[in-house]
């Protein structure tokens, strides 16, 4: 047994030592894991800064000897990088706009009204998430071909427009559920219509959730590759994912440009994600936990 003050102090000291050792180990493990997670990004920076005559090398230094920004300039000069970004932007903005407007009204209907099929509708929306993407792609592709929309913005917009809709409806329904009904009731007493109450009261209050739904739709479409590969075939219409894939190709000489382009695309996406991740995660788990 521990009795004297010296012995107590010794035990406490041993305890603190153990805790300190444990903390060091935890930090070491976490730093290691962070490095693994960051590694491709760091390597991308390193490759993108390599000078033109030393693109292919087994050098592993973060900042290569004779670092230069030539790869960044070459991406803009020798490829259609800006055009690819522009194509992605047009397609993504239109699809997100369509998706969020449909989800905003649909989510409200599910949140506020009891109607036959309310539960079933929500379950079916979750069910659509089980359908393999590759399965829908073939008939969609043939429909788009039949409509003459291959290699157009429109074909991409049609193919993307509802993919994120079920999830967006779930996020927005969850958010509407947290807005007290008394606000709308007050507006109804004052003489607004039901739709007016939604449009004037609930919608403005839901700006955070609407922007999150927009960001979700946006990143989904912005990062998409497989549909674009099938629908677009002309380099003038490529989205940036297709463009970068071409650059990465088999030719090692374009590694620098690939790395530079990737880095420039990744940074804004990372920032958007880090900003919105808390919301996205709660939305993602909502369906599973509540449903």
């Amino acid at each position: 047994m521990v009795e004297t003050p010296q012995e107590v102090a010794a035990v406490l000291a041993a305890h603190h030592r153990r805790q300190a050792v444990q903390a060091v180990l935890i930090h070491a493990a976490l730093i290691g894991a962070c490095l693994i997670c960051l590694y491709p990004l760091l390597r991308m920076i390193s490759v993108s800064l390599r000078p033109g005559d030393r693109l292919i090398s087994t050098d592993l230094a973060l900042i290569p000897a004779g670092a230069s920004a030539s790869s960044y300039l070459r991406v803009f000069k020798e490829t259609e990088f800006l055009l690819w970004l522009w194509n992605s932007l047009v397609i993504t903005c239109v699809t997100s706009f369509i998706g969020v407007s449909l989800a905003a009204t649909g989510g409200y209907a599910f949140s506020r009204f009891k109607f036959p099929g309310n539960k079933l509708g929500l379950t079916l929306l979750l069910g659509t998430q089980m359908i393999p993407a590759g399965m829908l792609l073939l008939p969609l592709f043939l429909m788009i071909m039949r409509l003459g929309l291959i290699n157009t913005y429109l074909g991409m917009i049609v193919a993307y427009s509802v993919t994120s809709l079920p999830f967006s409806i779930w996020i927005l329904k969850g958010y509407y559920d947290t807005i007290p009904r008394s606000l709308e009731e007050a507006a109804l007493v004052d003489g607004t219509s039901r739709f007016g109450a939604f449009y004037r009261i609930v919608l403005p209050l839901s700006t955070p959730a609407l922007s999150i739904a927009f960001l979700f739709n946006f990143t989904q479409a912005w990062n998409e590759y497989l549909v674009a590969r099938v629908v677009l075939c002309d380099a003038q219409r490529y989205t940036w994912t297709l463009g970068l894939f071409e650059l990465q190709g088999q030719y090692l000489t374009q590694w620098g440009m690939f790395a530079a382009g990737s880095f420039m695309v990744t940074v804004p996406v990372l920032l958007i994600f880090l900003y919105s991740s808390k919301w996205l995660i709660s939305g993602l788990t909502l369906g599973g936990v509540k449903g």
């Binding site: 903390a23 935890i26 976490l30 894991a33 962070c34 997670c37 590694y39 491709p40 390597r43 292919i56 090398s57 087994t58 369509i98 649909g106 409200y108 209907a109 009204f113 109607f115 309310n118 509708g121 659509t128 089980m130 359908i131 393999p132 590759g134 399965m135 829908l136 073939l138 008939p139 592709f141 429909m143 071909m145 913005y153 429109l154 917009i157 193919a159 427009s161 509802v162 079920p166 409806i169 590759y225 497989l226 590969r229 099938v230 219409r237 994912t241 894939f245 990465q248 088999q250 590694w255 690939f258 990737s262 695309v265 990744t266 996406v269 880090l274 991740s277 788990t285 599973g288 936990v289």
Partner: protein
């Protein structure tokens, strides 16, 4: 570029007009269903509108179009008059555009897929199909083909199926274990937790295409990081992308998937009250016992849905495998069912065959989810 922008604007305007017409239609049918002239008037108007729009869009078969419009409108008017009777007008009007969109872009393609699987659409018949809309009917030939001939050039359906199960199991296993370890570390770390968490979610936050392509580069046999490091240790270069493609894809996918599980599990860990651990510590429970008897049981409600979601995502994951092995001459040693489906349709242009394969895959997934639901319901009742 300008013309395609105009096309997009035109489409948005068209969409807005279509939604407006739909809402107007619903509004009339919800508000005026009780008027004596409701059924006769709408049935009289519908064929006229159909004729006008059919003529202006130059659709063929005008008489049958007019007849169909009248028939459909008669049924719809009767339903609105005697069944719906103006009830639930607002939710239906709010949901109609979205659900019609989902119907056209999810339900209709699924039905079309079944049609495709029973007919014969391939590279030799597709030109005739896009001109006349006709494809020969072949019955269940493609469904038997799925099991007897290879979806790609040599790998069989059985192999692909087994590999898919293995791929899903291994990936989810490492996602959950890796995510769990990292979440425990983060939960026991008091300084810089937010900073670590930010760095650790990067694989999830990065655009997948960039992450996969960048990692694929690191597996390149001569200039990739892995072989450079192996070389410094004196190991001969390994042909990751050609000879060990499944392993390569698995490593990449594990790297991509751990952050999601980590975040979900960390959320679960933080919601467990500290009191349980204090009480257990007073009773002399070891760290392992606390983990086994407090943490794991209390994480179940969080882990269950996350594992289900993760398994479905992994089962359906085309991105990693296609981006690593998809280019001309790529290996098929890493393909799972869905990536083989994508390649069969868009690399080998076997449309009807892949439609049948898609339906088979869908049924497999469906059976698995039913079993999974039964199984998890059963275990829930055991745990109370």
């Amino acid at each position: 570029m300008i013309s395609s922008l105009l096309q997009v604007l035109e489409f948005v305007a068209f969409l807005a007009a279509a939604v407006a017409i739909l809402e107007l239609y619903l509004h009339v049918h919800f508000s005026y269903f009780d008027h004596p002239w409701f059924v006769s008037a709408t049935v009289a108007v519908a064929p006229v509108l159909a004729a006008v729009s059919g003529h202006s869009l130059s659709v063929g078969h005008l008489p049958s179009l007019v007849l169909a419009a009248a028939g459909i409108q008669l049924v719809s008017a009767l339903v609105f008059r005697y069944v719906v009777r103006g009830k639930h007008s607002l939710p239906i009007m709010l949901l109609a555009p979205g659900f019609i969109g989902l119907g056209m872009l999810i339900a209709y393609p699924l039905a079309f897929e079944v049609y495709l699987a029973l007919h014969d659409l391939k590279l030799t018949t597709i030109m005739a199909w896009s001109r006349t809309g006709h494809i020969p009917f072949v019955g269940f030939k493609h469904f038997t083909n799925v099991f007897t001939s290879s979806p790609l050039s040599s790998v069989t359906f059985g192999w692909l199926f087994g590999r898919t199960i293995w791929w899903t199991f291994i990936n989810v296993f490492f996602h959950v274990t890796g995510g769990f370890i990292l979440a425990l570390l983060l939960n026991n770390c008091h300084r810089f937790r937010g900073l670590y968490r930010t760095f650790l979610v990067i694989p999830w936050a990065m655009p997948q295409v960039v992450a996969i392509l960048a990692l694929r580069g690191e597996f390149q046999s001569q200039y990739g990081f892995i072989n450079i490091m192996l070389g410094r240790l004196g190991v001969a270069p390994v042909q990751w992308l050609t000879q060990h493609s499944l392993l390569t894809c698995t490593i990449i996918n594990v790297w991509l998937g751990i952050p999601f599980m980590m975040v979900i599990i960390l959320g679960g860990l933080q919601s467990i009250s500290k009191h349980y651990y204090d009480a257990a510590a007073i009773d002399g429970a070891s760290a392992w016992q606390q983990l086994r008897h407090i943490t794991l049981p209390l994480l179940r409600p969080v882990l269950g849905p996350a594992v289900t979601l993760g398994a479905v995502w992994t089962f359906n994951n085309i991105n990693v495998i296609y981006l690593v092995t998809g280019q001309a001459g790529g290996t098929e040693d890493a393909d799972i069912l869905v990536s083989a489906l994508y390649k069969a349709a868009f690399t080998f242009y076997r449309y009807s065959y892949s439609a049948a394969l898609a339906i088979v895959i869908f049924l497999i997934l469906f059976i698995f989810s039913i079993l999974w639901l039964k199984f998890s319901k059963g275990s829930e009742s055991v745990y109370g």
